[in-house]
C-alpha cells in the first residue's frame, strides 16, 4: 500500500468513526460499513489510523463533551448522556482521566482547548470551524499570556544573580525611549518591563498605580509582584472576551471570565 492509498484508507476508515458519534454503533457495526469483518477492520484501522476504533470514538466523544462544556450552557448530565455514558459518575471518571480535571471545574476554567493528544491528529472540530487548523484562537490572549510567562521566567533567572551583577552596566544598550527610561543595567531593564505592565494594568482596570515601589527592588520581590503581570493578561482577555463588557471591568470580576493561568503562573511565587 503506497502512501496515498494509505491516506485514503485512513480518511475513509476514520470518517466511519467520526460519523458514528451520535449512534450506539459497536465495532462490528462500523466494520460492516467498511465491508470488512470485525477483526480485519480492527487490524487495518489500528495500522493506518494508529488508534483502535473504540479508543478514537471515546476520545472524540470526550473532546466534543469538553467543547460543549466550554461553549454551551448544556447541563453536565445531558453532556454525559450525549457522550454515550450511562451515568454522570462514569462520564466524570473518564473525563477526569483524560483532561485531569472534573467537568464542572473544566467549565469554570473556560478553557478554549478541547483536543486530547493523538498521534493521528484527528480531532473533534467545533461546528463551523475549519478542519485545516484552528481559527478560533484568541491571539491577544496568547500574546498576553506568553508575555507574562516570559517575564516570569526572566525574573526567575534574574533572581539567581547577585546585587552586583544586577547593577553591572550593560555593554550594549539600545535605548527604546531614552527621554523616559534608562536601561543601563539589567535591574533597570527588568524594572521597566514590569513598570510598563503596571501602567497598562492601572489604565485598563481604572485602579490606582502603586507609585511607592522601591526603585531598587530585587527580582525575587518582583516575582512576588507577579499578580500585576498576570492581572494584565487577565484584563486583556476580559476586554477581548465577548462575555465581559469593556466598560464594566473591575478587578474582582476579571478572573471569573479569564481562562486558567498557566502552570508557571499558578505556581507559588519565589520569595
Amino acid at each position: 500500500m503506497n502512501k496515498a492509498d494509505g491516506q485514503n484508507t485512513a480518511d475513509r476508515l476514520s470518517a466511519i468513526v467520526t460519523n458514528s458519534l451520535d449512534t450506539q454503533a459497536k465495532t462490528q457495526d462500523l466494520a460492516r460499513q467498511a465491508y470488512q469483518s470485525r477483526t480485519q477492520f480492527h487490524r487495518l484501522f489500528r495500522t493506518v489510523v494508529e488508534e483502535t476504533p473504540a479508543a478514537m470514538r471515546r476520545r472524540l466523544l470526550l473532546e466534543r463533551a469538553a467543547y460543549q462544556l466550554g461553549h454551551t450552557g448544556t447541563s453536565v448530565t445531558d453532556i454525559a448522556l450525549d457522550a454515550n455514558y450511562g451515568s454522570l459518575e462514569a462520564f466524570t471518571r473518564a473525563f477526569r482521566k483524560a483532561f485531569r480535571t472534573s467537568p464542572s471545574i473544566y467549565r469554570r476554567m473556560r478553557d478554549p482547548h478541547f483536543h486530547l493528544p493523538a498521534s493521528n491528529k484527528i480531532h473533534f472540530f467545533a461546528p463551523g470551524s475549519s478542519t485545516q487548523g484552528g481559527k478560533d484562537m484568541d491571539l491577544f490572549d496568547r500574546f498576553a499570556g506568553n508575555d507574562s510567562w516570559h517575564t516570569q521566567r526572566l525574573l526567575e533567572y534574574a533572581s539567581t544573580l547577585t546585587e552586583g551583577q544586577l547593577d553591572r552596566p550593560l555593554p550594549t544598550v539600545v535605548e527604546l525611549l531614552p527621554w523616559r527610561e534608562s536601561n543601563k543595567t539589567l535591574r533597570q531593564l527588568l524594572e521597566n518591563i514590569i513598570f510598563t505592565k503596571e501602567v497598562w494594568t492601572a489604565a485598563l482596570s481604572g485602579a490606582d498605580m502603586d507609585m511607592n515601589l522601591p526603585n531598587r527592588s530585587a527580582p525575587r520581590k518582583r516575582c512576588c509582584k507577579g499578580s500585576k503581570r498576570r492581572m494584565l493578561h487577565c484584563i486583556i482577555f476580559s476586554v477581548t472576551s465577548e462575555t465581559a463588557p469593556a466598560g464594566m471591568i473591575r478587578s474582582s470580576t476579571l478572573c471569573a471570565n479569564r481562562r486558567r493561568p498557566s502552570r508557571t503562573e499558578a505556581s507559588s511565587p519565589i520569595s
Partner: protein, 47 residues
C-alpha cells in the same frame, strides 16, 4: 508588548553575558505546552 519583547531580548542577552543558562528560552511550543489542558494544574483563583 512589542517594546517589552525588545526589552526581554536585551535582558536575555544580559543574562547570557552574566553566565545564566538560558537555552531554549522563548520557545513558543514550551508555552503552548504549559497552557494545554492535559498539562494544567488547576488554579481557579487568580490573585
Amino acid at each position: 508588548m512589542t517594546f517589552n519583547a525588545h526589552r526581554r531580548l536585551m535582558a536575555l542577552e544580559a543574562l547570557r553575558q552574566l553566565g545564566v543558562q538560558t537555552e531554549s528560552f522563548g520557545d513558543p511550543m514550551e508555552y503552548e505546552e504549559t497552557v494545554a489542558p492535559w498539562n494544567q494544574r488547576v488554579a481557579l483563583k487568580m490573585p
